[in-house]
Each structure stands twice: as structure tokens, then as C-alpha cells.
């Protein structure tokens, strides 16, 4: 059992390419339903298990979501089994056989002598030790907006934020400044090294950054999640460097660069979403719904 499979509670069903997992609280959104970051993380993890290669890219389309404790069946198929590159498809269905998410991607054996290089610049930020602990990215967003509101304990305790530690660094300089640029240092609460799967799990923050860029407090319903990965090392902290691109008619698009603590570009992620404007009271309503 590798670390990704453990984190995600992935179990083999015994049939080739077939797995399952349960929508446990740490794999859920703040409302307890299946979190989009879980769907892409599961897709990356099973693609790597089935092909025994590392992930190059993965796009996960969110078709529907599942209530707490639902059992999700996951099927990974190799559509084009190349010598180095495998094109794969991963589908997640609920216990009624309804599609929850559909993924396409590729895994590969990297070529030791192949072209290699990084063409982006990391923002100059404080290291995790000097950054401000945040209970959740929502809390940070409220602080940015100058709103003195504490996200209730009950909301913080449920969902994916219970297994991720967030710290917000001061940005001293940015290679491409603009509206909504923001950064978070994130790590697993258990302090295990971060893989491509778990980085994708953590990077599902574009909707918030687009809303922030548009001058609103909000988030959104992710329509998809894409990760394009380089080589992950033994990094425990990653920098989620958010680059919102555009909002149009209530929909948004943006990217995230994912950096190691030593400043290596590990991946680029992107998302489209349907934007939702929040008010602080929505968090109170969430807390009441869960009490």
C-alpha cells in the first residue's frame, strides 16, 4: 500500500484496474460531500498504480458529487499503452453506478537523457517558518477582504482542511503581479512527502483566487481540475502560487504553479469553475448544518 492509496483510503477490488474508496470527512468539502481535489488525486493515484509510471497530466471532470460515507468505485483503463507513455482514462461511479467524475490523462517513464528545463520564476516569499498559520484558505480570504470574521470551529474541523496545514507567506516580489495573485505554503498534517496526487488534492483553490481577483469574497463549483506534473521530490511543504486568469459571466478560469520549498517547479494546475459569491454568514449556516 503506497502513501497516496493510504491517504485516499483506496482499496483494490481484486479486479485489474478497479478500486474503491469511501467519502470520509478528510476527502470531503466543508459540506461533507465529495471534494473535487479528492477526485483528481484518486485519478492520479490509480493511473500510477495501473501503469506503474509517473503522471504527466490528468484532467478530471466533475459530473456530480456524493454524500458523506458513499462508496465510490474507480475504474482505470489504459487507452493507448505506449512503450514509455500510457494514455489513460479513469471513471468514478457511486453505488448506483452513476458517474461522479471522469478523468483523462497520461503517465510515462521519463527519459533520463530527455530535454529538461524550467521556464517560470517563483514569487519571492517568506519560508513556511516565517509565514502566518491559517485555519483554512477561506479564513485567509476573509482577512484579505478586511472582514473580521472567524470561520467556526465546526466548519474548520470537517473536510479536506483537517489533513492539510496552511500558512500564508508575505510576497516580497512577484514575477507576474496582478489581481488575485496569492500564495499558500501547504503540507500534510502527518508531514509525509507530497506526491503529484496529493499536490493535485491541495491545488483545488482556483475558484477562490478568481473570485478574489474579481474583487469578491467567494469560491465556486469546480467544473474540472487539471494537473501537468514534473518530478516530485521529497518535499514536505509546497507553495501553491495562484494565478487567476479571467472571469466571464459568472464563470472563471485560472492556474496554479506548484513549487517545492527549494524552489523547484513541480507542477502546473488549472481549473474552470462556476463562481459563487459567499457572505461570512454562509460559514455560520454550514456550521449550524453540521451541529
Amino acid at each position: 500500500m503506497n502513501s497516496d492509496a493510504e491517504f485516499l483510503g483506496l482499496e483494490s477490488t481484486g479486479e485489474p484496474g478497479r478500486y474503491r474508496f469511501v467519502v470520509e470527512p478528510h476527502l470531503a468539502r466543508h459540506d461533507g460531500y465529495l471534494y473535487g481535489g479528492t477526485a483528481i488525486a484518486v485519478s492520479v493515484a490509480v493511473a500510477e498504480l495501473v501503469t506503474e509510471r509517473t503522471t504527466l497530466w490528468m484532467t478530471t471532470q466533475f459530473v456530480a458529487t456524493s454524500p458523506p460515507k458513499e462508496v465510490i468505485s474507480v475504474h482505470a483503463e489504459v487507452l493507448a499503452p505506449g512503450r514509455r507513455t500510457n494514455q489513460v482514462r479513469v471513471t468514478g461511479t457511486d453505488s448506483n453506478g452513476v458517474t461522479m467524475f471522469a478523468s483523462l490523462g497520461a503517465t510515462a517513464h521519463l527519459r533520463p537523457q530527455g530535454l529538461t528545463g524550467a521556464f517560470e520564476k517563483m514569487p519571492d516569499v517568506d519560508p513556511p517558518e516565517k509565514s502566518i498559520p491559517q485555519t483554512s484558505p477561506f479564513q485567509a480570504m476573509l482577512r484579505h477582504a478586511g472582514i473580521d470574521y472567524q470561520v467556526p470551529e465546526e466548519v474548520q474541523r470537517i473536510g479536506f482542511t483537517q489533513v492539510i496545514e496552511f500558512r500564508e507567506p508575505t510576497i516580497h516580489s512577484h514575477p507576474d503581479p496582478g489581481p488575485g495573485r496569492s500564495c499558500f505554503w501547504v503540507r500534510r498534517v502527518d508531514n509525509e512527502p507530497i506526491s503529484a496526487a496529493i499536490a493535485a488534492f491541495m491545488a483545488d483553490m482556483v475558484p477562490m483566487s478568481v473570485a478574489h481577483a474579481a474583487g469578491s469574497i467567494g469560491g465556486g463549483i469546480s467544473l474540472d481540475n487539471t494537473i501537468r506534473a514534473a518530478e516530485f521530490d521529497e518535499t514536505r511543504w509546497i507553495l501553491i502560487d495562484m494565478r487567476p486568469h479571467i472571469a466571464v459571466g459568472g464563470y472563471g478560469h485560472g492556474s496554479v504553479f506548484i513549487w517545492s520549498q527549494s524552489g523547484r517547479l513541480l507542477a502546473q494546475a488549472g481549473q474552470s469553475c462556476s463562481l459563487i459569491q459567499f457572505s461570512p454568514e454562509d460559514f455560520t449556516a454550514m456550521a449550524e448544518a453540521q451541529s
Copy 2:
């Protein structure tokens, strides 16, 4: 028949969601085989036809390619028919029923009062009128590398470059300078306005930009193509603003921003690819293969 369907030679089969097209020379790569940009353009076009909405995002996975004159069947399915947003799947198969490409995406009715904004800066470049005509992006790449080699006429005349006009502007300043940043003004040779589908067709240039950033002359085999679109207007010229991100072990990732001539951000596109290093002689070999 809308303009995209005409450009792509898309015909309805009479069954709902089912279309077909022929791999004509202008929908092919320089070797005459199905061009990746055609696959994403067809996916965007049929998703819009079936849902009667505009495209938000589309990811097309390239599973295999088809020889010249092959008939490709295209099937568009709505996986999640929301009131505004439709999550769709599009699959292209050859005459043997083998999958050539698989796409996931979403279309939507934009909300007139929805959040709207653009958070990226356009490079300061010369307008199309003052830019240097290029017979193909490959020719420009060779010029950048200081190689005095004319891509043979026979190669220029086949493939997608016969329906696209390319001009390379001088970049006066760039919001995020770095290796491999380059820009092309492109338009349809028939000078029709550019849609999201045709922009995706034109934006399939990431492999070249990644190779260029890594200091190599080359291109690559696209593994996928993703577009995240805002609203397209009546623009005839678009600026393809290439932002290569990273190369690792012979694979590459990068993005493209697509701008209108008036400086509006129309879309962001991204790709992963398996990199290939070219030599000028490869173009000669292509020309000979087609003579």
C-alpha cells in the same frame, strides 16, 4: 451550417449528437495525418452544436492518429445537463471504431450579471500590419535558432498551415519574460472571425515553444490540448502568446494566452507533450515523402 462546421467539414449523421468529418489536408499535420488542433476544434464545435451553449473549457486527449482521407465519427454526449452548465464528453473514432481522441468539457449560458474581469497582461507587441509574415511557425523557429533554412514549399502547402496566416511581431515588453516566450499573430486565410473552436485549432503550438525554451529546435507529439475560453468577439487576428512552463525527461508542459487584436483575453490553452528534437533535414524528408 455554422462557420466552424464548414471550416472543419463537420456533417451531421442525422442521429442526435453524431457527426463525421474527413481528414482533409487542411485538418492534417505536415505528414498528412490528423492534426491534434483539429481534434480539439471538432470537440468544441460539436459540444456547442449539441448543447446550444458556448464553450467554457475542453480537454482533448490524443489517443491515436489517422491517415489522410480517413472518415472520423464524432459522438457528443451530455453527461450532466444543468440549467446553465452542461458537462459533455466527445469521442472521435476511425472507420474501424478505434478511438482517435477523447474529450471532456463544459458549455454554458453565461450569466449577464455574473462576475467578470481579466487578470493577465498582454505582451506589448507590434500589430499584425507591422509584423513579419511567416510561412509556418517552424520557419520562425528556425530563424530564432539562427538557422538559415527554408522549409520546402511542398511541406508548407500541406497541413493546417495552408488555412492559417502567421505573422511574428516584435515583442517590445513582456509581463512575465522568460525562456521560450514568443508570440504569433494568426488569422484564417479566408479572414472569417475566429471562434473558440478555431482558436483551439490555432493554439496547438506548445510543444514547439517548450523545445525552444529548452534551447532545442523541435516540437513534439501532443498528448492533449486544453482550452479555457471567455467570450469571443468578431476578432479576425488573434495573438498566440506562448508561455512554456517546464520540460522533464523529454516531456513538456506549457500554456498559451489568446488575445484579440484589441487586447482582450479570449482564452487560455495548455498542453503536455512528448518532445522531439528536429533537424532541418527532417523537413526535407517530409517534403520528399510527399512528392
